[in-house]
């Protein structure tokens, strides 16, 4: 039988194995599904972001292209002379503004950098000279120029587009100032969500449009250095200690970077929800599986303990039976070896008695002594014979008969045999019989011998003054009748309990008991398909419990 700790270990092992085998696939499944969802969801977000970024970039490029085309068209349709008429120039500007309100002013600068004609609200810059300005150099060199957004002389965020025209050996520049607010409206849109953002950056990471969050126009927004790249790119960038997803694209007409910021918390909300759901399902599954596993293992272990216990009981009774069998064989052998010499002694004594009956010996003065001696020899041979015959009786195979018997009646009969003896010793015999006890298919003569042995032992154990209680009771599953015989004697010590059914084990005085009574009782009950047990503690009496099956299996 396994120790308790062994069962615990086994149980833990079972639980862990089952959990392992069921949880690992569950976890893998959960992770895979979540991962797949994450990938497809992220792809969708990125696609969406790239799409928006690309659209905006096109819009911005288109806007700049249109402005450039307009100005180029104006510059190349008329000579400088034509524009020098202030009314004419005024009319051109009004025409421009009619198409696009974002034009602030318009001016022409000659090859010396002098403002030759101007129309717009900032009359103070009419006379300005731009010869040393950087943009002037640039436009001289490249023919067209688009500036970054700046405050400049007008002290208002704007940018300029300048187009140079060569006329003979001279050149002049048509320059338009455009309100940079246009970018804010072009860049921002509702597509970006509650926390999304979009803005333009120049090469030095200076904001060219107003972002919804963070620094103001012309402030610095550090997204890191990006060299020009074609198309659209998406990046995770940390801004202000928070990770954001950015869609990035360089404009074609200007060295500006369009940045579309996606709000990750908003966009990743479904992902978060999915992750949450996955965890909930996993936790639920875990609880279910763990509960099931614990329940199953508890049931199995309980079953195991029960069957181990049954096995142990069976083993004990098998051990007892085989002990009985071998002891029986030995007893038979001993009985035989003793019986032959006993037979000779008996016959020799008989011969002596035969001889004593002759006349002349009767006259012998020691005749009486001889006769006494022979009588004693014969008496003790008979005593020895009783032992060996009982031994043989124990060893021989009995075939018990099976008749329907009323145990209560058999017990009552047995008690009548012993009543006188008990009364003489002031021992009371109480009975507590169950009424309507079912019949038992058994052998009443043999059972009577068993009851007689046990009650007789009880009387001997008590000696004087005491009580014996005999109970009967029917139980179910298995269907049995239980007979218990309890005495108020001195009890039996633990080491004697182990040997109580062994042959020749006796606590009685020499000559009073053979030590075979309980041995025979045990083998009778066993042959009847029942069980016999003793429960006792020293000083507290003893109880013999016999269980008999209603039908022999």
């Amino acid at each position: 039988m396994l120790e308790r700790s062994g069962y615990t270990k086994l149980r833990v092992k079972m639980i862990l194995t089952t959990l392992g085998f069921s949880l690992i696939p569950l976890l893998i499944l959960g992770y895979t599904i979540y991962r797949q969802f994450e990938i497809s969801h992220t792809n969708k977000i990125l696609q969406n972001l790239n799409h928006i970024t690309e659209n905006k970039r096109r819009t911005l490029d288109l806007f700049l292209n249109e402005r450039l085309s307009q100005l180029t068209a104006i510059a190349y349709t008329h000579r400088l002379q034509y524009f020098l008429e202030p009314e004419t120039f005024e009319r051109v500007f009004t025409l421009l503004q009619a198409r696009s309100k974002y034009y602030i002013d318009l001016g022409i600068i000659d090859h010396n950098g002098d403002h030759v004609v101007y129309t717009g609200p900032y009359q103070t810059i009419r006379t300005a000279n731009y010869k040393d300005e950087e943009w002037f150099q640039q436009v001289q060199a490249k023919g067209i120029y688009i500036s970054d957004v700046f405050m400049g002389r007008r002290n208002y965020p704007h940018f300029i587009i300048a187009v140079m025209r060569r006329e003979g050996d001279k050149s002049w520049i048509l320059r338009a100032t455009i309100d940079s607010d246009i970018f804010d409206s072009l860049v921002q849109s509702d597509q970006l969500g509650a926390n999304g953002d979009a803005f333009l950056l120049n090469a030095e990471n200076i904001l060219q449009s107003k972002p919804r969050f963070g620094p103001r126009l012309l402030g610095k927004m550090d997204l890191g250095a990006f060299s020009r790249f074609p198309g659209v790119r998406s990046e995770m960038i940390e801004v202000g200690g928070k990770q954001y997803l950015f869609g990035l694209a360089w404009l074609e007409n200007k060295n500006w970077l369009l940045a579309i910021r996606d709000d990750p918390t908003e966009e990743l909300m479904p992902l978060k929800r999915t992750r949450h759901l996955v965890w909930v399902i996993l936790a639920g599954g875990l609880l279910l599986i763990a509960g099931g596993t614990v329940l199953t293992s508890t049931t199995i272990i309980a079953q195991l303990v029960r069957s181990e216990r049954e096995k142990a009981t069976l083993n004990a009774s098998l051990t007892q039976s085989s002990k009985m069998a071998s002891l029986g064989k030995m007893a038979a052998g001993v009985a035989h070896e003793v019986n032959n010499p006993l037979a000779i002694i008996k016959e020799k004594a008989g011969w002596m008695r035969d001889l004593l009956s002759e006349e002349d010996l009767k006259a012998s003065p020691n005749f009486k002594e001889y006769e006494d001696a022979i009588t004693k020899i014969e008496y003790h041979v008979t005593r020895a014979k009783d032992v060996t015959h009982r031994l043989l009786g124990f060893a021989r195979r009995m075939d018990p008969i099976h008749e329907d018997i009323d145990i209560n009646q058999v017990l009552n009969q047995t008690i009548t045999f012993l009543e006188n003896e008990a009364r003489y010793r002031a021992i009371e015999i109480h009975t507590a019989f169950q009424k309507d006890l079912p019949f038992v298919a058994s052998d009443s003569a043999q059972l009577q011998q068993v009851f007689l042995n046990i009650i007789d032992n009880a009387i001997d154990a008590i000696g004087k003054d005491g009580g014996i209680t005999i109970r009967t009771q029917a139980v179910h599953d298995p269907d049995e009748v239980i007979i218990s015989i309890t005495d108020t004697g001195p009890g039996i010590s633990a080491e004697k309990l182990d040997k109580i059914f062994d042959p020749f084990f006796t606590t009685k005085k020499v000559g009073e008991g053979t030590g075979l009574g309980l041995t025979i009782s045990f083998s009778i009950i066993q042959k009847l398909g029942g069980k016999i047990n003793v429960e006792s503690q020293e000083g507290q009496g003893a109880t013999f419990i016999i269980s008999l099956p209603l039908r022999k299996a």
């Binding site: 038979a332 052998g333 009985a335 035989h336 019986n339 032959n340 006993l342 037979a343 000779i344 002694i345 008996k346 016959e347 020799k348 008989g350 011969w351 035969d354 001889l355 041979v381 014979k385 015959h389 043989l392 060893a395 021989r396 195979r397």
Partner: protein, 132 residues
């Protein structure tokens, strides 16, 4: 009425004493120390009753019994079993022994059995004569 008795046992002391006890009762008996010897004696003359020990070295009681029943079917046999599992006795009865008795036996009981065995033998012999 003379009963011709043969006692078969391997224990000399037992056989001798029994012979004396039968002798003093005016019932002389023959003795044999083995199954083989008993069969030889039986071949030479008729016996009414054979007292046969079950356990003997060499040819044992049951074997001897079988032989006797075959060759001298009228002779009655009383089995004497010292080791006496009752089974051996019972087996003997099945093989046609008249009775069995456990060692150490009571002499008077044995005498009774011998007498009744003889009576039966006489009866059997008579009926056989009439029938034959």
């Amino acid at each position: 009425m003379d009963i011709k008795i043969l006692l078969v046992d391997d224990e000399s002391d037992f056989v001798e004493t029994m012979a004396k006890r039968f002798g003093i009762r005016k019932m002389p008996i023959d003795t044999a120390r083995s199954g083989q010897e008993a069969l030889e004696l039986l071949a030479a003359q008729d016996y009414d009753v054979v007292i046969l020990d079950v356990r003997m070295p060499g040819m044992d009681g049951l074997e001897t019994l079988r032989e006797i029943r075959e060759k001298n079917p009228l002779t009655e046999v009383i089995m004497l079993t010292g080791h006496a599992s009752l089974e051996a006795g019972m087996q003997g009865m099945n093989l046609g022994a008249y009775d069995y008795i456990l060692k150490p036996a009571d002499f008077d009981e044995l005498l009774d059995k011998v007498r009744t065995a003889f009576e039966r033998k006489e009866l059997n012999a008579k009926s056989r004569k009439q029938g034959g």
